[in-house]
Amino acid sequence: MKILTGNDLKSGAVVWWTGYDWSIHVEDAVDVGDQADAILQREEGARRVNASYAIDAEPDGERGVRPAHIKDRIRALGPTVRPDLTLKPADPNAGNWVI
């Protein structure tokens, strides 16, 4: 599946395209099929997202979506060396999802 990611213009936070908005949770990301370029052009123009791009991902059971590359999984969760700063600080297994 193809999903879209970028950084929120104001906060810089990593965000994922949900089909109608941007979410900080990768599990909200939807498959955009062949619509990536059109959506990215529209959203960058609307100043909602910055440095956006399309990536490969795969469905991931209860967790929803897992980006194909480790860089995007680290973006999705947060730095592996600071679990307290990730989106899932209480989940001891979150790091395993990244690696």
Binding site: L9, K10, G12, A13, R75, P79, V81, L85
Partner: protein, 544 residues
């Protein structure tokens, strides 16, 4: 240390106002990202893996307590409670909001700091010896010349769009503690046979994907021609440096391709021309700057006695303090490398504490080192035990300077959008491994440096042991290098062979140290043994 005059302050304040307006226009949609990106980068604001990252300049690594407190306040107020001291003697924050950036720059300007020229193809923050003004082996204090170069290079209209970024280092000691020959220009202040003081110029060094050691192009430039000669070096580079390929755009490539002799010939020709133009700053300006770098009011009767009956304190003194030029004082190094910690990271509380301790025990002065540690340059021996106790209580008492635990590591894939592999977890595992096996002390001086990509922010080429993270078919992989050195006998590390997994590289490092312990001759460091016996025995052990 240097204090801004009205021109410095006006320049920085004006820049803050400009950037506030530029940011407003970006948020209102009046600037596109393509238009805004170079503007934010000129103010140190990158877009990194998780958020915007702000890199703040610490000119030649020197700062005072008030400035350090502001760095801590920024960590608390605008970031997530910590800052990361970098391998360029700067500090960076990883979780900055664009809308906060102008306010942060205003806070910095209020204490004579900024983020100018911490990014982009310009002359970057000037680096220097972290022991400047305190070291016993120093000819003169290099910082007035670093400051002169800072003022010359700040907003220099000719050098704001160089082919690529440009890094200058100035030292004035017998021992190179600043990796001088691995800079675009390395300047060593020297004395010639006539007893005159001048500057030796090494040009065309650097790390990155094509590491090179800078050759000496002139062994003596009179100090009253320092800026003119620097300008000549830059002019030739700006004129002929490659702009068609960013990977071949650094001055090291130009010097290499032209050859040292031809590059030098062109510089000398340009230098002769520039001497007729009278571009050197007036002596009065240099004297004004020098007046800011006089020695603090040392206690001339300070005792050299030190009670080393506490073994933990004695170990810290042995490893983390360096002789001072003034009797009764030492240079104290605060390691930001606790076992299992993140190299270079310090919490806001720790930064505040270091600021307070500098105020109380080090004449209000601190230094940031390229090894990602902090220095209190002027500590009275009589205060040292109290200082150490306060550091230790705050998790800043690690006694491991220049040991295998004192690892330089770039932010790597945990934070950096350029990285191919994580650096920090490898550093953490190595420091934990050696803390557990108890060999840190036995190994002595062993400089280990880790980069998460070929850009080499972690200086892996210059590590006695270097580690380079690469992407191997989507998986992190780590190459091992041996034999690098950043000091007087600068050398570049050589790759041992095939790379390793994250755990495998930790085992490989330990095996390399076992070879050293088995093979070393009396008094040899790891590097010395490697240079004597070569790579083969290390490879046999590592790949067995």
């Amino acid at each position: 240390m240097y204090r801004y005059d009205q021109y410095d302050q006006a320049m920085v304040d004006t820049r803050v106002a400009e950037f506030r307006d530029q940011t407003r226009r970006r948020l209102e949609g009046k600037l596109t990202e393509d238009q805004f990106k170079p503007l934010r980068l000129q103010n140190g604001l990158y877009l990194q893996l998780h958020a915007y990252m702000l890199r703040v300049a610490v000119p030649y690594g020197t700062l005072n307590s008030a400035q350090m407190h502001v760095l801590a306040n920024i960590a608390d107020k605008y970031d997530r409670g910590y800052g990361h001291f970098t391998t360029r003697q700067n500090i960076q924050y990883n979780w900055i909001k664009l809308e906060d950036a102008p306010d942060i720059l205003a806070d910095l300007a209020a204490v004579e700091m900024h983020a100018i020229q911490t990014s982009g193809n310009c002359i970057r923050n000037i680096s220097s010896d972290q022991f400047a003004g305190a070291a016993g082996d120093e000819l003169i204090d290099p910082r007035p010349y670093a400051e002169l170069l800072r003022q010359w290079s700040s907003f220099h209209p000719e050098f704001l769009t160089l082919p690529r970024k440009f890094k200058i280092c100035v030292i004035a000691s017998e021992t190179d503690r600043a990796a001088m020959k691995l800079h675009d220009i390395g300047i060593r202040i020297v004395k010639n046979a006539a007893g005159e003081i001048g500057a030796a110029f090494y040009v065309g060094g650097g790390m990155g994907r094509t590491p090179m050691i800078a050759p000496l192009i002139r062994d003596f430039v009179p100090l009253d021609q320092l800026i003119t000669y620097s300008e000549a070096c830059l002019r030739v580079y700006n004129r002929y440096g490659r702009r068609d390929n960013k990977y071949k755009a650094r001055i090291k490539i130009l010097v290499h391709e032209l050859g040292k002799e031809e590059y030098t010939r062109q510089v000398e020709e340009e230098f002769a021309h520039l001497l007729t133009q009278g571009i050197e700053p007036p002596i009065a300006e240099l004297e004004r700057i020098k007046a800011h770098f006089t020695d603090p009011a040392f206690d001339q009767g300070a005792s050299d006695d030190l009670d080393l009956s506490d073994p933990a304190f004695a170990l810290w003194v042995a490893r983390n303090t360096v002789a001072h030029k003034q009797p009764g004082y030492v240079i104290a190094n605060i390691s930001l490398k606790p076992v299992g910690g993140i190299p270079g990271d310090a919490s806001a509380a720790q930064i505040h504490l270091m600021a307070d301790l500098a105020k109380e025990y080090s004449f209000d002065e601190l230094r940031v080192t390229h090894a990602q540690n902090i220095v209190l340059p002027h500590v009275k021996k009589a205060d040292l035990h109290t200082l150490w106790q306060k550091l230790d209580a705050a998790g800043l008492g690690a006694a491991n300077l220049d040991t295998v635990e004192d690892i330089i590591a770039c932010p790597g894939l945990d934070y950096c959008s350029l990285a191919n592999a994580r650096s920090i977890p490898v550093a953490q595992k190595i420091s934990q491994r050696f803390a557990a096996n108890g060999k840190t002390g036995e190994l002595g001086e062993l400089k280990l440096k880790i980069s998460g990509c070929i850009n080499a922010c972690g200086h892996h080429h210059a590590g006695h042991i270097g580690i380079l993270g690469v992407d191997k078919k989507g998986l992190e992989n780590y190459q091992l290098l041996l034999g690098g050195c950043e000091g007087d006998d600068t050398s570049l590390g050589k790759i041992t062979g095939p790379g390793f997994t994250e755990d495998g590289i930790v085992d490989a490092v330990e095996k390399a140290t076992e070879v050293y312990l088995a093979e070393r001759a009396e008094g040899e460091r790891f590097l010395d043994t490697y240079r004597r016996i070569g790579m083969e025995k290390f490879k046999e052990a590592i790949y067995a």
